[in-house]
Subunit: 215 residues, 2 copies
């Protein structure tokens, strides 16, 4: 494992692409019980877990370039589910193909390790938000996070980012009730921090939002 402090080149994954398929908003990214790894080409999704009694905790937003299904393949299914929040385009891989080293360049497993480390870091930050931030800070953080994820994959257009997240999704991301989430979003909007409309969010002032998120 060489120094991975910088993002490794993921382009080679393209060679592995086995099949492309489109799915509509609301669909599951991974068919039940099929060990399959998928890369997002277009669209946005969420990853979530369920408590036995049905409570839902959203644990990650999924943007183009993200790999889905690693945990299921390596650790057995049942842990997390994926749901598309917009129409999506996916590439599927055979899990067996992912571990062969490449003759030249970093081997695939090394790349996977790097991706998983990033995922661990994100999850760690998400947990800190849910556990430590109050409703105002949490909502502000969520909007910031969505903005930064979109920015990282070039989805900002005319200073607005995609925001296909229903208030129930935001609520389940932060462990808040739907009603309180609604009122909090309203309050922050009235403060002029951001404006959500038509599935996109426009941020007035990044620094102000960052401050509101206690970041």
């Amino acid at each position: 494992m060489e120094n991975l402090s910088r993002k490794p080149d993921l382009a080679y994954l393209a060679e592995l692409s086995q099949s492309q398929r489109a799915i509509p908003a609301g669909a599951a990214l991974l068919p039940e019980s099929t060990p399959l790894i998928v890369r997002v080409e277009r669209g946005i999704a969420m990853r979530y877990t369920l408590l036995e009694d049905g409570r839902r905790q959203v644990e990650a937003l999924v943007y183009p370039g993200d790999l889905c299904g690693l945990t299921s393949v390596l650790y057995g299914p049942g842990a997390s589910y994926y749901e598309a929040l917009t129409p999506m385009m996916l590439s599927s891989f055979d899990p067996a193909d992912l571990h062969q080293p490449l003759p030249d360049g970093p081997d695939r497993t090394t790349t996977l390790v790097w991706l998983m480390t990033r995922e661990l870091t994100r999850l760690s930050g998400w947990l800190a938000s849910v556990g430590q931030r109050n409703a105002n800070e949490g909502i502000a953080w969520f909007v910031m996070h969505a903005w930064e994820r979109a920015e990282a994959v070039g989805l900002i257009e005319k200073d607005s980012a995609p925001f296909p997240f229903a208030q129930q999704v935001v609520a389940d991301s932060l462990g808040l009730s739907l009603v309180h989430t609604n009122k909090t979003i309203r309050r922050l909007r009235d403060q002029g921090l951001f404006r959500i409309a038509g599935g996109r969010v426009r941020i007035s002032s990044l620094p102000a939002l960052r401050r509101a998120a206690a970041l």
Copy 2:
């Protein structure tokens, strides 16, 4: 990457052991800014993150056999910190040694991927607890979790498990206040679910506790 649904053999890591060192309770496992990977041989620790304003979120309990520092090495420092909760014995590794494949058997990187997957799964469950469970369920879950972690590494003795967790640690694990954590623990104890004393916990009825945790 072969089928890793079953736990891979980690014994070979022993060959890598570079140095052993003991640290007291309260010490940091990883010296600041030193890229170093460490395996726990004895003792219990916690991993946590800090918000800029000092709020602390505990995100994992660290038991013998756990590897610490992967995220820092691969992703740069600053994300998570480790603190010993008991006196500990650690083995240190040179990160550079961890990626060389072994001639016979699973290569080390594959093992790392498996370990990280397990960590992701744990973190995912932790997040669901913090986000979705109320104080009663959360405390019950925490005790259950500590019990199961201890059980997995053979630390149960005379039907009690180590419990070196100050109430402030439990509070920061679940995103609750210290006072409310105290009162909730008291309530559950009075219900006869468990009993904490002398750094250990004794569980009356696993099924009852599981029920209380909404698990």
